[in-house]
Symmetry: none
Subunit: 227 residues, 2 copies
């Protein structure tokens, strides 16, 4: 049975979605807050997550980010707002799709099926591990490995996640705030933490840490990883 977690604070809408999904043959579970949904998903992971954006307490964007930190489950935003900014922000946060309420249940399930085709099968085939290359620097997010000129470089967990985050947005500046939020999960905090870890990372992956080639600083903007 395919399980769907619905995170939506409006009782009527949540109930309607749950019933409709069950009619379609899914096993549907509801949560009224992001906190509740996150707990449910950690305890008993569903195959899909539907999430509203406007939630009391933790909002939908943050909820998506938190799920994505350790779960690759397909996430569909179901929101009343059809503002481009919201759509872009939700997808950037890690959502796979965004539909505007009210949505036809047939469309919703069709979108879930479309996502299922793409969702990485949990075990199944041993996929070739994707490698992100930056000159001599190679990063395998899936294998948890960093190599520099062919030789493996030992990096700590935080360093690795920082590097992956930068690699995933290769060529783009990420502000300290963004990194703090995506790597550490802090919404506000001392940004200097980022500096320190960037510095340590540079010691390991740059041939001349004082003149970084790949992991560069953009004064006043943040850091970026480039070729």
């Amino acid at each position: 049975m395919t399980a769907v977690l619905v995170i939506e604070d409006d009782d009527r809408i949540r109930l309607a979605l749950l019933l409709a999904l069950e009619d379609e043959g899914y096993e549907a579970v509801g949560a009224a807050t992001a906190e509740e949904g996150l707990r449910d998903q950690r305890r008993a992971p569903a195959d899909y997550v539907l999430v509203d954006l406007m939630l009391p307490g933790l909002d939908g964007f943050e909820c998506i980010r938190q799920i994505r930190r350790d779960d690759d489950v397909p996430i569909v935003v179901v929101s009343a707002r059809d503002d481009t900014h919201d759509i872009v922000a939700a997808l950037e946060a890690g959502a796979d799709d965004y539909v505007v309420k009210p949505v036809a249940i047939k469309e919703l399930t069709a979108r879930l099926r479309a996502l299922r085709r793409r969702a990485r099968s949990t075990v199944a085939v041993p996929e070739p591990v994707p490698v992100l290359a930056f000159g001599a620097l190679e990063i395998s997010p899936d294998a948890g490995e960093v190599r520099c000129a062919g030789r493996p470089v030992p990096v700590t967990r935080t360093e690795f996640r920082l590097l992956c985050e930068l690699a995933e947005h290769a060529g783009r500046v990420l502000s300290r705030q963004q990194l703090l939020s995506r790597v550490w999960g802090y919404d506000n905090g001392d940004e200097r933490v980022v500096d320190v870890h960037v510095g340590r990372l540079r010691q390991k992956i740059e041939s001349d840490p004082a003149n970084p080639k790949h992991l560069v600083t953009l004064r006043g903007l943040g850091y970026k990883l480039q070729r």
Copy 2:
């Protein structure tokens, strides 16, 4: 470079999409019919396909099915119709996403990025960075980079923000007050600050700073950036 194939019979819409995608850093190719699009995709496979549903001859649904027979490329339907039946049918035919015209280019590219995360093909392709071009002058807000005739130009944070603000409203005059407010966040203050920074920018990006080509002064009005 990431390539996108746009299959759309309406010349104006197709052209608009192609230009917008190129601004966002993609290499965009157009096709006016399904047949033409299928041939293009077979000959030189793009990384993404955008397809309209209402096409002369072979329609969009059939086009999707034919592509899917031997190609796993992410397909996004861009259609004027928002009928549930069409959406379901397109997704069933093998499309990955469905957006309704008119669509904001930012949303479209965000959806492409979301798809890229799922469509892990063998090679990891980094997302292209959008570039705003003014003759030889290239500005990439996302990368925090300014290039002049291909050469990177080091600009400070304030200069960069000022330039981005002007670039975003290319061709329009922005008063000192507007710039002061948008770049500096001041609601009132000494407007001379703007002059100074415009001057410094000119030193860096204009070949003859005394006779600026792009960053021009409109006496009594303000500044504007032009091609």
